[in-house]
């Protein structure tokens, strides 16, 4: 599949050191269009809808803010909403988002026993935007990756 100029520019922006020190691709060696296409397939397989997942993640982030930086139990989940200084632009250049990090994990497992990308999700305002608008879940190995299987299992969707 041929990449559009916008996707090509976004892919360049996702490299480590451009917009963030770690970048958005983890150790994934696939092209951007393949990452998106395969995640779209995975969402279909798991019966997930990008908008509904984005809505749920937004709700959890908002509820997590009640913990004022400390973890808070929401249903069977432990949610922690933290903020950092500043704003991050979307790699596609269509918006600026507050730097924050929300972690979601099962409340019945000690926090230190959870592993990013396995039974714990980390996301930000920008992650939700990229998921909703660009269907981009981040590359494999990125701590902020929103993997379809983990979303399905953790969020009971």
């Amino acid at each position: 599949m041929k990449q559009s100029p916008a996707d090509r520019k976004a892919f360049e922006n996702m490299a480590p050191g451009v917009l963030t020190a770690a970048g958005f691709l983890g150790n994934d060696e696939r092209t951007l269009d393949r990452i998106i296409a395969e995640d779209e397939e995975a969402f279909l397989e798991h019966g997930l809808d990008f908008d509904k997942v984005a809505d749920r993640l937004e709700d959890l982030a908002r509820e997590g803010e009640q913990g004022m930086g400390e973890p808070i139990t929401i249903g069977r989940l432990l949610v922690q909403s933290g903020e950092a200084r500043g704003m991050l632009p979307c790699p596609w250049g269509d918006g600026l988002y507050h730097k924050n990090a929300v972690s979601v994990r099962p409340a019945d497992i000690p926090p230190e026993a959870c592993t990013e990308g396995e039974d714990m999700l980390i996301y930000s305002e920008l992650s939700i935007h990229m998921l909703r608008v660009h269907h981009f879940c981040q590359g494999k190995g990125s701590p902020f990756r929103l993997d379809a299987a983990v979303l399905k299992q953790l969020l009971d969707l």
Binding site: P16, G17, V18, L19, T20, A21, A22, G26, N27, E65, Q66, G67, M68, G69, E70, P71, I72, T73, Q80, S81, G82, E83, A84, R85, G86, M87, L88, P89, L96, K99, A101, S103, P110, P111, E112, E116, M120, I122, G141, P143, F144
Partner: protein, 373 residues
């Protein structure tokens, strides 16, 4: 020569020539020669090599403007007033600028390149900020996700006010290919000028905190830049109402032990509210209770938001804002000099506590905090 090789070799040759031309053009076009930066109307005048961002140029001259994103224009911390006209604000600067900032020629120093002689204004405190080479003397787990890290300065001494912060320079590690800096409040007392102690909580996905928690070892060399910040004890007789959670403990530990050790601010009563979720998130409980027993002006109120029955917690429970509200309503005497608020935590916690304090009559300009976020 095989015809198969002609194409690739031709492409490689053309690429090499183009790269050479670009490199030469870059050297010629971007060679701005020596420039002059006048700071605060000539209080300091620097002769520098032009062409680089102002932030990096100042850092090369040992003037460290706070920055948390390594000059990518995403943290908005490195603001300074550029008196010289260097053109309109860039799109990357505008999200961080208020109309007053724009009117006053405040710029992000990481986004302004030194392409002409510049006149700028900087807070004088920045002149005393230094980069310190240190080694990690001790790392201790105070909870499952907070480490107390003690750094010993390799040379010289650090002078700071209790409540200030330093920037920890994280070197490249693993997949992180460039150095980053993050701000952490100092928890050590100012009288120990050979050490800096920090409390660092693991933030999932955080570059600096992951480095501290997973990579950093005792004996490792680390650079610190500082001290920064305006958060300090105000010299008034007003009672201090302090609130923190998690690693927000750090500046208060420094303030309380400094006050206890030196007898500073002898008229101040101190109330300290510390919120955690469970006893596993609570730390320094014994130390602070011992301090409370030895220092009659100090009142420690730890609170758990989600205590488990098996923890047998007998202290305060609920969100720290609720605990604070109850105490301001019913428990803490209000002296003639009134109350002052001191906060360290997330923006959400600062906003919520500010609302509770204002409800009880603490005016906003008597509520102090460092805005890290």
């Amino acid at each position: 020569m095989s015809p198969i090789l002609v194409g690739p070799l031709a492409v490689a040759g053309i690429s090499t020539v183009l790269a050479l031309i670009i490199s030469i053009l870059d050297k010629v076009l971007n060679n701005y020669g020596e420039m002059e930066i006048s700071i605060n109307k000539g209080e300091k005048v620097l002769k520098v090599k032009g062409g680089s961002p102002l932030l990096a140029t100042l850092a090369a001259e040992n003037i460290f403007v706070p920055s948390a994103c390594g000059g990518r224009g995403t943290c908005g911390a490195c603001k300074c007033k550029v008196v010289t006209d260097v053109g309109p604000h860039l799109p990357t600067e505008l999200p961080f600028m208020s109309p007053a900032d724009i009117a006053a020629n405040v710029r992000l120093s990481c986004q302004v390149k030194v392409r002409q002689n510049l006149e700028i204004e900087l807070p004088r405190e920045l002149f005393s900020i230094r980069k310190y080479r240190t080694h990690v003397e001790k790392i201790r787990d105070v909870t499952y996700d907070i480490k107390e890290v003690l750094f010993r300065l390799d040379e010289g001494e650090i002078e700071f006010t209790a409540g200030q912060y330093v920037q920890l320079v994280v070197p490249p590690y693993g997949d992180i290919k460039e150095s980053v800096q993050r701000a952490y409040s100092m928890s050590s007392v100012p009288s120990d000028r050979k050490h800096v102690e920090l409390l660092i909580r693991l933030v999932p996905g955080g570059i600096a905190t992951t480095y501290v928690h997973k990579v950093l070892k005792e004996g490792d060399p680390v650079e610190l830049v500082g001290p920064f910040g305006e958060f300090h004890v105000h010299d008034t007789p007003a009672t201090m109402i302090c609130v923190a959670g998690g690693s927000g403990m750090a500046p208060f530990k420094s303030m309380f032990y400094h006050m206890f050790e030196t007898g500073a601010f002898p008229l101040k009563e101190v109330w300290y509210f510390f919120g955690a979720r469970t006893t596993r998130d609570m730390f320094y409980l014994d130390e602070l209770r011992a301090l409370e027993a030895r220092w009659p002006r100090f009142h420690f109120v730890p609170a758990l938001s989600e205590p488990k029955p098996e923890e047998n917690w007998t202290g305060q429970t609920g969100l720290i804002t609720d605990v604070l509200d109850r105490h301001l309503q019913n428990v803490i005497p209000k002296p003639e000099a009134g109350w002052e608020g001191y906060l360290c935590g997330s923006p959400g916690m600062i906003n919520a506590c500010t609302n509770v304090m204002k409800k009880h009559g603490i005016v906003e300009n008597k509520i102090y905090y460092d805005k890290f976020a």
